[in-house]
């Protein structure tokens, strides 16, 4: 089994796009979201968090990202940010600065209230049934 098996990169990438409600952080998204994610990363520093909180629009204006990315950050539209190349571990710097936990922030992407989402998790989480493949509906 340690034999190297060559992967067809196109088939590999196509499968990654076949998962319902999921944006896999591919190299394409990493390139698209480079500055968006590096902006988010800057909030790891206390002085940057202070400047961001004082004037979000002014702070983000200096980062060379698209207007759509800027607007989605200001609106905290995390699903849109995933579409625009954001990665959740980077976006976490934004919602942590807002004082939100992972559970609270993640729930905003599901269309559920935080309370309903937490109840779902306590009851065992979301089943994969019907959510494995867009094409197959499994």
């Amino acid at each position: 089994m340690s034999e190297l098996t060559h992967t067809n990169i196109h088939a590999y990438l196509a499968e990654l796009e076949d998962i319902p409600g999921t944006r896999v952080y591919t190299t394409k998204r990493a390139r698209q979201g480079y500055w968006l994610n590096q902006f988010a990363m800057s909030l790891m520093k206390a002085e940057n968090r202070k400047a961001w909180k004082a004037d979000e629009a002014a702070y983000i204006a200096d980062w060379p990202m698209t207007d759509a990315q800027r607007d989605a950050v200001l609106a905290r539209d995390y699903n849109l940010l995933l579409d625009l190349g954001g990665n959740i571990y980077y976006l976490a710097k934004v919602f942590s600065t807002d004082g939100l936990s992972f559970l609270q922030a993640v729930s905003t992407m599901t269309g559920m209230s935080t309370e309903d989402y937490q109840t779902m998790m306590i009851n065992g989480g979301r089943s994969p049934i019907g959510l494995r493949s867009i094409k197959e509906g499994t």
Binding site: Y12, P20, G21, A30, N79, Y90, S101, V106, M109, R126
Partner: protein, 280 residues
């Protein structure tokens, strides 16, 4: 000679670290998570490993978009817990067995696993939460820690097969190190969880339990699991389980399962851990 004696697989959920740091471990929500580690804490106190090779992933903490190493080994003498945006966890500094770390780096590279060597790195919850789960809240960690960081954030991460092979190479490196050391290897992260998109909150206990079963019953099957299966069955962040295969690969053929624990949820995540002993 140095020898690998045991392996541990465990989740590294950041909220678990916060629960420990804020003294919430006995609250009804958290108690079942921590109760599962009681057996393991006693076990490791008796085992007294000299060194733990701790396989984890950095979560946009030390590595940002500027540098994305697939396999990195930290080789400096000591490390600080990272400030992940709300101040560093109040846990002890982490001390390396730097001679063994450098030896593993050189051995693995000669064995065709081209490791990135890192000397200046703060360590995030991926590494410190497993230490807290296993050792509680001591003034000093009771052994040396060799951090190995794996990219599981930007696709593609390494294949499960590659991770398993790296584990085998690490075992060869340890066995060729001329100092009498009891070494453990831990694989961390997982189990099923998804932190993004409308499908967030996905949990798959059947798949997770089968994964735990096959660590002893059919590891060859585990090393062949493609990325897409982790994504479909265990959520977008379940891919972290490839790091458990580095641990499994390092243990060799004959192993015994000593303990297992599984609980849903901790925050968004299924928490699992397993203790595997090398059969000599």
């Amino acid at each position: 000679m140095a020898r690998i004696t045991a392996g541990v697989g465990t989740s590294h959920v950041p909220a678990i670290g916060a629960a420990i740091d804020l003294g919430k471990t006995q609250e009804p929500y958290w108690k079942p998570v921590f109760d599962g580690y009681e057996w393991t804490k006693k076990w490791i106190e008796a085992e007294k490993p000299d060194v733990i090779i701790l396989v984890y992933n950095d979560h946009a903490t030390a590595f940002d978009m500027d540098i994305i190493p697939t396999f990195a080994i930290a080789c400096s003498d000591s490390f600080k817990p990272a400030d992940e945006g709300w101040g560093p966890r109040k846990v002890p500094d982490i001390h390396n067995h730097a001679d063994l770390a450098w030896h593993i780096a050189q051995s693995c590279i000669l064995d065709e696993f081209d490791m990135t060597i890192v000397n200046n790195i703060d360590l995030d919850h991926g590494l410190t939460v497993p230490l807290s789960l296993m050792f509680g809240q001591p003034d000093q960690w009771p052994c040396k820690i060799i951090p190995i960081a794996v990219n599981v954030v930007t696709y593609p991460p390494p294949s499960g097969n590659r991770c398993y092979g790296l584990g085998e190479a690490i075992a060869r490196a340890v066995e060729s190190f001329d100092e009498d050391l009891n070494v453990q290897i831990w694989g961390t992260g997982g189990m099923s969880h998804q932190l993004q998109g409308p499908r967030a909150g996905l949990i798959n206990p059947d798949w997770d339990q089968k994964f735990l079963d096959n660590l002893t019953q059919d590891p060859e099957l585990l090393r062949a699991i493609p990325h897409i299966e982790y994504l479909r069955e265990t959520g977008s962040e379940g891919i972290e389980m490839v790091m458990w295969l580095i641990m499994r690969g390092a243990l060799g053929e004959k192993i015994k399962e000593l303990h297992r624990h599984y609980h849903v949820p901790a925050s968004n995540t299924a928490v699992g851990h397993i203790v595997l002993e090398k059969d000599t």
